[in-house]
């Protein structure tokens, strides 16, 4: 995509980051079902390295709302893992493949946050914190899998169409 048009880019990235945050808030009552993974993958495959902008606008909004804690500290790096994986697999066409990627990320979410617990409670605490959260990771995995299975490819096509039309 995107030709160098800084003002238009800034507006686009702000809208995408804000949209991600709003979508998460709307789905906040569902247990560990979130749209952020889907959005991060979409940004990575359609925007390339510029995906960092909407991702970190979303992270800033999270920090502004929730302050700095374990989850928000993890947000500083955790979405990069998914964005990097999605970018590496950007040629993949199978919805099932994207569902597996997103589901795997949901499954590993606790494990990816656990290193922060090393600083607060040491290795034993980090391990036990991760293990006790596995049921939530399984829920996260299932939610991510289904959302990506049904929505990733149609939304990717839509985003590509809109970006080609307006940028």
């Amino acid at each position: 995509m995107v030709k160098s048009r800084p003002a238009a880019d800034a507006a686009l990235f702000g809208i995408l980051g804000g949209l991600t945050f709003a979508a998460k808030m709307v789905m906040a009552s569902l247990p560990n079902i979130e749209p952020v993974s889907l959005m991060v993958m979409l940004f990575a495959v359609t925007l390339g390295k510029k995906a960092l902008f909407p991702i970190y606008i979303y992270v800033l909004l999270e920090l502004a709302l929730n302050g700095f804690g374990l989850w928000t500290a993890a947000y500083l790096y955790i979405w990069l893992v998914l964005a990097g994986a999605a970018w590496l697999l950007r040629d993949m066409q199978s919805p099932l493949g994207w569902a597996v990627l997103s589901g795997t990320f949901g499954l590993l979410f606790g494990a990816l946050c656990a290193p922060l617990c090393l600083f607060t409670g040491g290795p034993a605490f980090a391990l036990s914190w991760w293990l006790s959260g596995v049921p939530f990771d399984l829920l996260h995995c299932g939610g991510n899998f289904l959302i990506a299975l049904f929505l990733f490819c149609p939304l990717r096509a839509l985003m590509q169409r809109l970006l080609q039309k307006y940028f």
């Binding site: 919805p95 493949g97 795997t104 499954l107 006790s132 939530f136 399984l138 149609p154």
Partner: protein, 171 residues
């Protein structure tokens, strides 16, 4: 499932004589040459492997979780719960109980009020004092002995002689 991100990932490939050689027909009636078919089969093999690894990982994580869960003890147990309020005044409760999890005990004794959230029982009120995270980031921190609990009260098992603390905490 949504349609593929691009068009030529048709599953189900059937050979058909066509002109000078054999072409292969996908489910959508598209014709594939032998190299294309090879490519599709390779992609399907990769995807199948990824799917298999994904399912294995889910099984591994579920197994690790189940094998690491602390055992519960049926029968009568003696348990102590200390509540440390916002003004640092503490109150200690002693229970004889046959409950197997701390959350069940605290709810049945009316010590705590809360609701089931996405991470299990979320304790809002203890011994008549409410912690409002939305207001001032206050919450009730649970300690098992001296250690900060790594799981919610509803999945914290009770053993005879256990002691717990619920401490009003500002985040």
């Amino acid at each position: 499932m949504s349609p593929a991100c691009a068009s030529n990932s048709g599953a189900g490939i059937f050979a058909r004589k066509h002109g000078r050689g054999v072409l292969f027909e996908g489910r959508r009636g598209l014709l594939f040459s032998a190299p294309e078919r090879k490519d599709i089969v390779k992609k399907h093999a990769k995807l199948s492997l990824a799917l298999l690894a994904f399912v294995a990982l889910i099984g591994l994580f579920a197994g690790l979780y189940l094998s690491s869960r602390p055992d519960t003890t049926p029968g009568d147990k003696s348990v102590t719960v200390e509540v440390v309020h916002k003004d640092e005044v503490s109150r200690t409760f002693h229970f004889q109980t046959d409950k197997e999890y701390l959350g069940d005990l605290l709810l049945s004794e009316g010590i705590v009020k809360g609701e089931q959230g996405q991470f299990g029982l979320y304790i809002r009120e203890v011994d008549g004092e409410r912690a409002d995270f939305d207001l001032d980031k206050a919450y009730w921190a649970l300690f098992v002995g001296e250690d900060y609990a790594t799981q919610g009260a509803d999945v914290t098992p009770l053993q005879d002689g256990d002691s717990f603390r619920l401490v009003y905490t500002l985040g």
